[in-house]
Amino acid sequence: MSSVAPVLPDGFVVIVKRECATCQMVEPVLKDIAAHSTPLTVYTQDDPTFPESLSAIHDSDLAVSWHNNIDTVPTLIKVVNGKEVDRTFGWLASDWQRITEIPELGTDLPAMRPGCGSMSVDPDIVDKLRAKFTDSPVIARTVEFSDAEDEFEAMYARGWTDGFPVVPPTRERVLRMLIGTTRHPQDVIAIAPPDLVELTVEKIAINAVMAGCLPEYMPWVIAALEAVCNDQFNMHGVLATTMPVGPVIICNGPGTRAIGMNSGINAFGQGNRANNTIGRAVQLTIRNVGGGRPGEVDRATHGNPGKISFCFAEDEVGSPFTSLATERGIPLGQNAVTVFAGEGPRCVVDQLARTPEELTNSLVACLQTVHHPKLVIGFDAILTISPDHGRVYAEAGWSREKLIAELTERSMTPGADLVRGAREMAEGIPPHLRDATLPKFRPGGILLTYAGGGAGLFSSIVAGWANGAIGSDPVTRVVGS
């Protein structure tokens, strides 16, 4: 698919197109250069008859323009012994005079006139040119659909979707996606469960295209996949469990704002491309490359809609607390993802609390119900404080550490109320813990985050899966380039 870069002839080379007024303006200048001793070669992008007063080579496939990184026409290049030694673009009389060593060149023209966009960077065709001319190490096998097949239906039929349509991962689209990362397409990011196959950047890019990602999301998708594909997070177990959990991705750092992630109104919901497609790309990659499909290794009893995508950013700018990433050891200003094996979010309503103590009591009462009011320590949870609830803590000067300590203290429950059979419920903790007093969560088991719209005296809880060595621990990874 690649092509050898055409060698430019020695002398002066000018690339033009008729559609550009500046190119038309410099036509007499080109004639003047041609009249001097140094050879002039003109390449024309659009109209082979332009410029009329000179013979020009038609760069019909734009190979010359592409390989010489022509962004603007006209571009003047000085070539000596097959090598470029100088260039200018647009019309800047002083530059053209200096490079051509013709002091009187174009003195009747304005001193400066900007050029026009080169056809080789036209957004409508640049992806095709990249696919044609880039010697890209993309090696995935190709799948051809017949003209009688609807490609969207064909991708459904092959089992490649999460139930929603996917964007066809053409070579052009995949190469464009790969621009979003500096990683080599064949870099192995992780071993993807459950089939334990090497997960390359290229395969991630293919699935990111299908998910609807923009190239700038690629580093986040890669970091999230690094974070889930290891023994600590235990993606295989998260897939295989009958519990309704999937990877919940919490994004931190200034990059969340640069790529337009939503940390405000409806942060967990629909409508934001980055939030929804980053999470979706992770799940499509696990499905298609890892081979993790519902009914096969995925044995969830009910599952949850967040298993299509559950990804959001923390509102670090508005938060009265240090961020989750900072809490987990990431330096301020660094982009990071934290993955958590979680179910769907549930709402905590408290519209009346005006003191941090009252509000904390409500949060604890709701957190106690995570999976079962009599099961403690074994499950973690994300607690997402909204701006309206966060203000109560901000005004009282409560820090992250203070809130976590209060949540823990206020959740302490006598073992006698939690053991199996107590309160006329068979479910509960083992009887030997009858005399203990236990908090709801293990140390570090509350992942405190801050997000949501500016109105609503609600917070949100995302319950986790079995934690620790028998289940999944949250994992934080820095987002690379």
Partner: protein
């Protein structure tokens, strides 16, 4: 001939890219063969004769018909055939 869109395979490529036909059974004796009448005129005449020939050769024959030849077989019908038959012959006739 594939003249439609070409895409890059999103999977781990452990399965073949194209689906292959099943190999022929060594014998039809004892197998259950479904005969699907697509409901075109006189398709039944053709299938009646096929049923005779298959039965002579030791196959068990089950008859099915689509509600109309203009539309794909309903999912339920396809599942019924798939669960009850080893082989299926679809009749096109006019």
């Amino acid at each position: 001939m594939a003249t439609g869109i070409t895409i890059l395979d999103p999977t781990n490529e452990s399965k073949p890219a194209t689906r292959h036909t099943l190999s022929r059974p060594a014998s039809i004796k004892g197998l259950t063969i479904g005969l699907l009448d697509i409901s075109k005129p006189r398709g039944n005449l053709f299938l009646n004769r096929i049923e005779e020939l298959l039965t002579e050769r030791g196959a068990k024959v089950l008859r099915f018909s689509k509600p109309t030849f203009t539309k794909p077989a309903p999912v339920d019908l396809r599942q019924e055939i798939a669960t009850q038959c080893n082989l299926v012959i679809e009749a096109l006739a006019d």
